[in-house]
Symmetry: C4
Subunit: 332 residues, 4 copies
């Protein structure tokens, strides 16, 4: 029996994922492990397609700092050339004799003006050079407004700091089985009112055409008051689950993606923080139990949360729990 | 039959648009294409009617920078005059001989103080000039707090960066037709929990009196989990739509405006962003289908979203779907 | 018949106003016209009772600036004294001869360091004075972080910029009457998703004891999509209103307060803004109609909102609409 | 009868506290009095477990300032060593003769550059030293972006400024009893739309195994429009309360924690603020009434809120109200 036939018809379709249903248009993963969507934009001008704010907030630190140093150097070079052009003699206090030394002194005078250090050994004399240097100080203050604003913005950007278990598992749950994964805050944050939303995407080939179907994954509970320890998010494989008739083989052969979205309130940021991730079927361990990851401290006064155990599980045989696959995908 | 009679009486009136119902008071469009309301405020003092924060955040960049340069120059001129008034001899280190040169040096001393560059060749001596220059440094720091705050505020202002299809279309939908338009994020943003609200405003002339009626446009679905690709917002023309009895001619002759409001959560801004737009009836193509705007990448690893195709549609004949207009507005 | 008896028993009590019900504890108005609650806190230490952030954000501008200038002067005086104490000879470049001149130069050296202007004519020599001045520069940068942060924070603080009609009115409404007032944004803001909440507080003397009763005022509609023109907030005096049996005399004699709370989303602030106000019974005009306050512009292209007309009303006789007061409060 | 048997089976379990149910893993209090959870994280690298933003925003002021001064000194030392390494002769204007004096001058030149004071007596000459000092000015501006951002961030961090009564009480309420505590804003804030959530956690030993059970505490009312005076949060001990069958002895012997979570909107911060606290059973006074804490001012124009009375109560005998404990825990 084809996998398509085995998708539980009572499962609640998720119609508004924002990913569309025309799977033939998709390539690869919808969402990467780090929560970014796997989409490239074309058309419109390149510059129009870029939000500098988003780009600069999102760059790795070394790239961000390189860009800062590049712009700092570039703008100083421009101003140094301007000072040379209007006449280096209008900079009093120069020690330089050769042209290259003069350029170097003009460059560093520019840097001292741009950063408003203004030692003053070199200083502008006359209207034109004074005017340019006062303009440069203004440009410097405005440039550093953006540079330092972004630098602090990167540092203080609300982030969820959540870590997901590398694998999702199919574990025994009540009378049947459940799809589970764990998430845990790994930094000294204090998250409240956390909410999870899980969407199951299945890519189905039938008669040579690939189609995607999205389903809401019903959760054991989808909110927690405080997200301080680990949270095992549980999708019970019951009559409303698209996995209701799935055998172990079906899980192994299915293609698609389970998309996870968690949001919570961080009271240090005083803001909502969001986190996304996804599991492909290859990352699901059929038949496993998560090991406990928090313990009482030796002095019995605290709870210890061991983050290294986030993905710790022991495999168990659950074939007796899952439906038997008489006609699996391969033989369909 | 007059258009008024053709408005579906089962359509759900939108009573709280904030635009009132006394159409005779209105002029032109309620909302411009860019989402701004077409309203002018009179009364109260002019200065009281202005929020400088809103004004300066909203100005085109060149106007904003011009205002900055103007204020910078203006304040330096004022302080230069003060330094001259209390006695230029209290500025040590001047090279100037003529009065105009002295004014120029006082001006640039002021600029060097205001920006806190403070080269120091020119520096204050004595109580009065020192006091004024220390006050100026304070004024400078406070002025730049506003200037740089606004400059960074403009740069980092949460914006939705959404683009709407230039036209709305009436397209086949299920057994009948639907009013549709498309919206797509055009920058490298990541929007979640997007929600759309569409209000249909019809301006009706009856017995020489114009009246406006607003209706909630029921949507196929009004939220998407992630707004990453394009989103076709669909108002099915069913029994609850004010357009239920509209023929193609009625759409052509109707006057009014379809007002669109979209909000979503941007996790880089960690804030809600909003976007508004509107379509007048002249912008509706009766009988068209949007062309797909996203594709699988050649290497099958990504999805490509082609923003240039946002307004791409092919016209089709849908007269057989729409009600026939026996008595259209013109013959009424 | 005492007023108490005339309060409609079907009116929905508002139990969670946060103002309590023990009226004997209250004095005067609960909420001032500007929306501030009329409460004074005692106990706890004075400094603990103060949030400097709230206080400094809320002060009139001239007081805020005075405090800034005071602290700037005060800290410079302290540092000037320290420079004198460790030996004025460690400041190179002084012109001063007399002690008072030396103090003045030390003071302005301090100011130049604190603002990081650092002209450099006067500059520190030797370990102790250099160390103090480098510490002062650090203190200056941190102090200006607070000062300029607050200055910009005051400038950019999300505010609703709403104006309320000076009077509330009792006007004809459908078959009966309604309590109405108007609110209008008076600056160039763009408010969406506005929501109003109105609470009616009645202070009742019975057997020499005063008691307060709070009621939710049902509104014709309590939200508007866009708050761009004026919004007339209407509480219909129907069977669920506490005013259902009120005659004109009862309104005149009643004591209490109608508390108004409006919130909306301002997309330039990207934040929710709130506004509060209140009406005492003396501010209610029994029998009036608001005059229109927006018009079509002469060129028919815009809507003009005339803010001067916010409180314009024409009085009308509505005694025939209100219940006759056989036994009013005075004769009870 | 064991306490376990006395927990009302009709009480609504709180399944999503985020604290798990495996009590054997816990140690001590779940939440400290100040609202912090009593959890320690292990595993992952130490640096990865730290959010510097959260840590630095949360440190006591003196520790935060010490860290600032330490980093300021440390970075200046590093740069001083670099200036020495590349040749102290490239710093013009030095008075120093001895090596240690040279190091001191290099250090203070660095400090003057780092803070952008730049007096200029000491100033860089030549390419290498000039380049290092211009880099240092850049590093200084970026470092102060973080330092001043955090300093202002600490000052302006949205906080609830709520104080809880030190004790919770069991007081007479309607026909029975209720669990109550008081909360009051103690600073000049203006909180609206406050909401409280109370969770009762009971730790039960049965057959030598400890188990935790969490219950939602139903509240008399869980929201207030304005949190301006004191708010007595009341959990009626009715048929839905886990305390329904508790005698005074049971309260004394019970182990567990009542966890309180309050959130509200502060319009000066324009943000939601949250506050948490908890009561252990030892902090519950069985049989008490809170004394009033607000009064009319002498001039009858204001309400006075006396914060010192937040925990003022008078004990009363309520044994006749509570169920008699035939078989209390000790005798079970």
């Amino acid at each position: 029996m084809a996998l398509l036939r085995k998708i539980n018809t009572k499962a609640k379709a998720e119609i508004n994922t924002g990913f569309g249903t025309n799977t033939s248009a998709y390539g690869g993963r919808l969402m990467n492990k780090n929560g970014r969507t796997n989409i490239e934009k074309h058309g419109v001008g390149f510059l129009e397609r870029i939000s500098w704010y988003h780009t600069l907030l999102d760059l790795p630190l070394w790239k961000f700092l390189s860009i800062l140093v590049f712009f700092f150097t570039f703008l100083n070079l421009i101003f140094a050339l301007i000072y040379l052009a209007v006449g280096i003699q209008h900079l009093s206090g120069l020690d330089a004799v050769t042209t290259s030394d003069k350029f170097i002194e003009a460059y560093f005078f520019s840097a001292q003006t741009f950063t408003t250090v203004g030692y003053g050994r070199i200083n502008p004399v006359g209207f034109v050079t004074s005017a340019i240097s006062s303009l440069e100080a203004l440009v410097g203050l405005l440039s550093f407004a953006i540079a330092t604003g972004l630098f602090y913005g990167r540092f203080s950007k609300p982030e969820a700091f959540l870590r997901y278990s590398g694998n999702a598992i199919i574990a025994p749950y009540k009378d049947g089985a459940a799809f589970m994964f764990r998430v845990s805050p790994y930094k000294n944050t204090s998250l409240t009112d956390a909410e999870a939303k899980v969407t199951i995407g299945l890519f189905i080939e039938e008669d040579g055409v690939t189609r995607s179907e999205f389903f809401q994954a019903g959760l054991e509970y989808s909110t927690v008051n405080a997200l301080t320890l680990s949270w095992t998010i549980v999708h019970p494989i019951n009559e409303e689950s698209p996995f209701y008739s799935f055998s172990a083989e079906d899980f192994a052969k299915a293609k698609g993606e389970i998309i996870v979205f968690v949001k919570a309130f961080d009271d240090m940021f005083s803001n909502e923080v969001v986190s996304r991730s996804s599991y492909v079927f290859g990352e699901i361990i059929v038949g496993a139990k998560f090991e406990p990851m928090y313990f009482r401290s030796p002095d019995h006064n605290k709870t210890i949360l061991d983050l290294d155990k986030l993905n710790s599980y022991t495999t168990i045989d659950i074939t007796s729990i899952l439906p038997v696959s008489k006609n699996n995908v391969a033989t369909a």
